[in-house]
């Protein structure tokens, strides 16, 4: 009888250990964890003044805090347009996760050649507090497709590839 109680106690202890393992994993990881790394890709978005190439670099280095850094470089896709090159650097944070939709907030937004970009887009660009919503799916382990709704209402889909 004493042995049975002991075996039962050991079994319970093992179950507790398994649960602790599960909790430790849950505690030390977030849904962002599988996407940690340096991602890059390019997309072409249509604008009234002509298409524009958006070169996107996403650095996810803080999966625990669900934050990352985004560098987007804009340049006209057609040579007949006035050439310029503008870069936006920003920190992004996941602020909401509903169903499969993620909502990010942008902070520390900084532009290079902001005037040209505003002229091309024909609108004032946000400096901080802009919100991006989007969805992301994995194509392969090192390839993801994200579909974003930008602060100015544009929608953009881009395939990003992870680099070591």
């Amino acid at each position: 009888m004493q042995n049975k109680i002991r075996h039962f106690a050991i079994l319970i202890a093992w179950i507790v250990c398994a649960l602790i393992g599960l909790i430790v994993y849950q505690w030390s990881n977030t849904p962002t964890t599988p996407f940690t790394g340096f991602w890059s890709g390019q997309a072409i978005a249509e604008y009234p003044r002509g298409p524009i190439i958006i070169k996107t670099q996403l650095i996810i280095d803080d999966a625990q805090g669900e934050s990352a850094r985004l560098i987007a470089q804009f340049l006209p896709a057609q040579e007949e347009n006035e050439m310029f090159q503008s870069t936006v650097t920003t920190s992004i944070n996941v602020i909401k996760r509903q169903d499969k939709t993620l909502t990010f907030s942008l902070s520390d937004v900084s532009y290079s050649d902001k005037a040209n970009l505003e002229e091309y887009f024909d609108r004032t660009l946000p400096i901080k507090g802009a919100i991006i919503t989007g969805k992301a799916w994995a194509i392969e382990e090192d390839e993801i497709f994200i579909y974003l709704i930008l602060p100015f209402g544009e929608k953009m889909g881009v395939v990003l590839t992870r680099h070591d």
């Binding site: 250990c17 398994a18 849904p31 390019q42 194509i139 497709f145 929608k155 889909g157």
Partner: protein, 245 residues
Amino acid sequence: MTKLVLEPPVYLIGDYSYSKTSGVVSKNNVLTQLRAKESALLNVLIEHFPNTLSRDQIVKELYEGSYATDATINQLVKRLRKALDDDQRSLIRTIPKQGYMLTTAPQPIEIEPIATHAIHPKYLNCEHGSVNSSEINLEELQRIAAGNIQPNTPNQERLCGAFAVIGGLVALLLGYTFGHFTLYTPNYIERTSEIEFKNAVLADDATTPLASLNAQGDTETIYLVDDGIHIICTYNQVVTTCKTK
């Protein structure tokens, strides 16, 4: 811990069955392990039957290369008698001035090897009267006698403890691995061949895009629905371009 086995050849001596190989005696299906010297003495007595075994022969057979006094031999014979419940000296007789002899002819018998549960050495000692009675756990002894439970020894306890700890660590690892494979797994895009992709039409409320693969298995086109608008994104391994379908 000793596993008691009545291995052939087995001799019947009085009410006892005795295995010369394993040194185990059996009476009423109760197996007892003799000590090495007791077993050796009984072997020599069997071999010399019906002759008397002198003290010199005992010394020669059992203590060659070492030293044994009369008191040593007396003590050994006394222990063997005690092990065989031969208080009346009806099995091993002392022949004054000559030595010792078995009173009953040892008869070789055919027997299937039988074994009993392992008995902790402390209980073997106990049977021979050389253990402090305070060391005996009566409850444990009864459990052993019931024949289905092994006695708990410090080594066994340690082994069980180690097993429990290792099991706990393995469970911890399994829990973590389970989390790895079940929590936070990415949503994978649905993939299909080019032919199937051309005929595919997603529902207006479809939540998962469809990707077509080229012959090399690379993603070529992604078809998704956003707020009821069907969008096709082409991907040429460098640039993604999305347009309304």
